[in-house]
Symmetry: C2
Subunit: 505 residues, 2 copies
């Protein structure tokens, strides 16, 4: 019996290592495609990606994997597993069930559909023609409903989708936290819009030399404790972070000549994701647990570093000189406080990815409510433009002039990623809750930021969040880090404190 268990565990871990190797190889292939792979090789490359993805899927869903999981879940075997191995078995079981429950033929159809759909979406967005995209969206909703049926409905149908990106998250929980947020942020945004004390941002729009921007981005990453022996910074049209393994975490940014903050905050944001991936515990390396535990927790780290730290007054009191000295004569007449306020402008806008730290959450709540309507109330693709526009009017006081700036703006739905959007606001809420704990547990927190001593903060986050990787669930992480479950009041308090000061409310 013992031998069988040990053999099963050994074989299981070999399989996991293989899966992880495919995952790493695919990660490099995608990174390469997005950072400068020659255009003419893309088709052949896509085929290679297809071959490797298929093989990885086969490894994850093989009959042998199913049998190994059953053996290791057997109560006698399970008792002998280490905590990490038990968690690895549980996570693998979850992926396994999710995959094998979908008939291969159905999944194949869906893959083809989403690939066509993403092209259709791109074209429709360019023309602002929702009707061109609508049939695809209807089909994707239809397939997703079939998947929910196969996977099984949790408390509500939409709960089944949420669980993909934020394990354990529910509609009941999100309704609670988002309603708390919405009720506070809508009036706060209105008060800000009405304030006579609007920051001056004119000086942000100058020609800023790319080399100097890059040098400052690299400097800030280094200050955050980004390990350049275990990662690199490149350029891409859409910035992203990818953790191939904790020793190789890559981020990208995009330099805009006429905007000094875009690449910088993009770098800090991706740098936050990178710190998480670089500091995952050594005991998890080579396993599928060596990654972030959820999209929401991952996003909490990018947003903590970008917004809580990077858009704070102490941060700029420390680093403004390092910025201005790189652009001689360009910012000399701008006091640090003006600069700080300019990086924190709040204004209702139509486009999510350009939104400020406050109204961003309203963009997310709108998408969350629409996704709930689709999967829990049967809303159809044809209904969405109207619903979209109504909600923008209600929450942000503005209405898109075109569907391109409205319901067509995001790529997510065209790829079937329903349930993903809430992660972004969960990230903001987790980040504020973590910052609240940090303020209490590291009494010198803001002094550390103000003196550029960021490594103790990174160290604290490593102990509470990073090192656990996927070996703890999102709720275990947030309780472990802050002592209590998700509480949206911290984000409200943080935003109120910050913006009442900036806008003199």
């Amino acid at each position: 019996m013992t031998t069988t268990y040990e053999q099963a565990l050994h074989t299981f871990k070999e399989k996991i290592k293989q899966i992880k190797s495919y995952d790493e190889a695919l990660g490099v292939l995608y990174w390469d495609l997005r950072t400068g792979a020659p255009r003419k090789g893309v088709n052949t490359r896509s085929e290679a990606i297809g071959v490797l993805s298929t093989e990885m899927f086969k490894l994850s869903t093989s009959k042998e994997m199913g049998e190994l999981l059953s053996q290791l879940e057997d109560s006698a075997a399970s008792e002998q597993l280490s905590d990490i191995d038990r968690r690895l078995v549980a996570e693998t079981r979850k992926d396994y069930d999710r995959s094998v429950l979908i008939p291969p033929q159905l999944y194949q159809e869906y893959v083809v559909l989403t690939s066509q759909s993403e092209s259709a979406w791109e074209e429709a967005k360019e023309k602002g023609d929702y009707e061109e995209f609508r049939p695809y969206l209807d089909k994707i909703i239809n397939y997703t409903n079939q998947f929910i049926d196969l996977w099984g409905t949790k408390a509500t149908r939409y709960d089944t989708l949420l669980d993909q990106y934020e394990p354990g998250m529910t509609v009941a929980e999100l309704d609670r936290v988002f309603s708390g947020l919405r009720d506070k942020l809508v009036p706060l945004a209105s008060a800000i819009a009405a304030s006579p004390h609007q920051p001056n941002t004119s000086f942000l729009k100058q020609q800023y030399a790319k080399d100097a921007q890059k040098s400052f981005s690299l400097f800030v990453l280094e200050q955050m404790g980004f390990d350049f022996q275990a990662g690199r910074l490149d350029e891409s049209v859409h910035p992203f972070a990818t953790g191939l393994n904790p020793g190789d975490v890559r981020i990208t940014t995009r330099y805009l000549q006429d905007d000094v903050t875009s690449a910088l905050f993009g770098t800090i944001h991706e740098g936050g994701h990178a710190l998480y991936e670089q500091n995952i515990g050594e005991d998890l390396i080579g396993t599928t647990l060596a990654t972030g535990t959820s999209m929401g927790i991952h996003e909490s780290q990018s947003r903590f570093w970008e917004n809580v730290i990077g858009r704070s007054r102490p941060f700029w009191e420390r680093y403004y000189g390092d910025l201005t000295s790189r652009f001689p004569g360009q910012l000399d007449h701008v006091p640090v406080d003006d600069f700080y306020r300019a990086t924190n402008v709040v204004a209702p806008s139509l486009i999510r990815i350009e939104a400020d730290e406050l109204t961003y959450n309203l963009h997310i709540i709108i998408r969350y409510e629409i996704e709930k309507l689709i999967f829990n109330e049967g809303a159809k693709a044809a209904d969405l433009p109207q619903i979209w526009n109504d909600k923008y009017r209600e929450y942000l006081g503005i209405v898109p002039d075109s569907n391109a700036n409205g319901v067509l703006q995001d790529v997510h739905w065209s790829g079937g990623a329903f349930g993903y959007f809430p992660s972004y606001s969960l990230g903001n809420m987790y980040a504020a809750q973590i910052a609240d704990t940090l303020e209490r547990e590291l009494p010198s927190f803001w002094q550390l930021v103000g003196s550029g001593d960021l490594l103790p903060i990174k160290q604290w986050l490593t102990e509470r969040v990073y090192k656990w990787g996927k070996a703890r669930t999102p709720s275990e992480i947030i309780v472990g880090a802050t002592g209590k479950p998700l509480d949206p009041s911290h984000l409200v308090t943080y935003l109120e404190r910050k913006y009442k000061d900036i806008y003199k409310l």
Copy 2:
């Protein structure tokens, strides 16, 4: 019967596509490791490479592949195959047999040995201590002899090794061409050394700005017809070229601040390899025939572009102004002919990779003769330093001061790559023979070079060499391109004509 054949062909081609996909993925992983992958991720990356390599090996040597090959080699089936498919079957059979003839256990031992041996070689070379490396080399020779036994001895034992890198090449043939070369080049090198007309090279050693060097390298690549939509130029410590697929061919170079020609000729050399890979016929894409037909033919293209074109007087008459204008004030006083002569200095030297176009061949002949002694005459690792030094004295008139600059200088033997060295000189001979044909078939050949009109030359090479990929054997290529088999007299004539002029002999 027909159905079976068609099914077999379809399945076979699917397998080939899979193998090629793994090959491309591994190519990207290696390229990435050599162009800036973070140091701390290397171990995990190596494991991923191991997993993918193993899978690729399994695909190539599976029982199913053996059966498919037998089915397609059946005379009735074989007749129905297109020329390309028949060639694909033959090439796959060759790899298959070569692989399955070695027992997995033996191969596994050999892989471990060569990996240890490469480390041992590196250390031994650093210390100049041959004795540290000798036991490894003995073992590698021993394993290689076992492989020869398993693969079967061709005309001589060493023939079996040559065939790996230059299919169809024999000891008889190499003895013939190398003796012709050696007998002419040894006295020519002596005459050059004795000439009072040594080129002045002092101006090459200045500080040359890297950006300007890079700009010139990119400009020359563009002039050669390198397609930047199907390739890229990066930097690495050891320059290399890798053809992932004809739409994605990557080369690297290395910029030395104090040498304006090193990166340039490195770029042109790798650019020659790249032109080959970029212009392989579309009918071969996605198959394992979409690569160069042999190391020798590949090397002929890098050396044709680097030496025949890049180190020619017409080339510099056309491009010298483009070079000097990038380094204002640094070369203004140097006449183009002085520059041309400085890039063509001939001098006996100890290190192969630093050798000039002429004496390089003597370095290769020495290695060829030693490898023959090992495998056909039973020479042992212990004998090699003495043999090495004796041959350097005889052919180049100099003797290494240390084994580090002698028998330990090359990595090849530590990795078991016996039979590879001749490819380099084969490349020189093929290149000169092709140049001879070009001079006759494109009467304006040197005018084209002199006017910077290089694309007709690239086009000619595409038709005669590049587009065939591995669908023709090396001898088919050279006969197809020049109308006759390999003839070393062209290299002799080319070198004599060039150096008698430069050294006024």
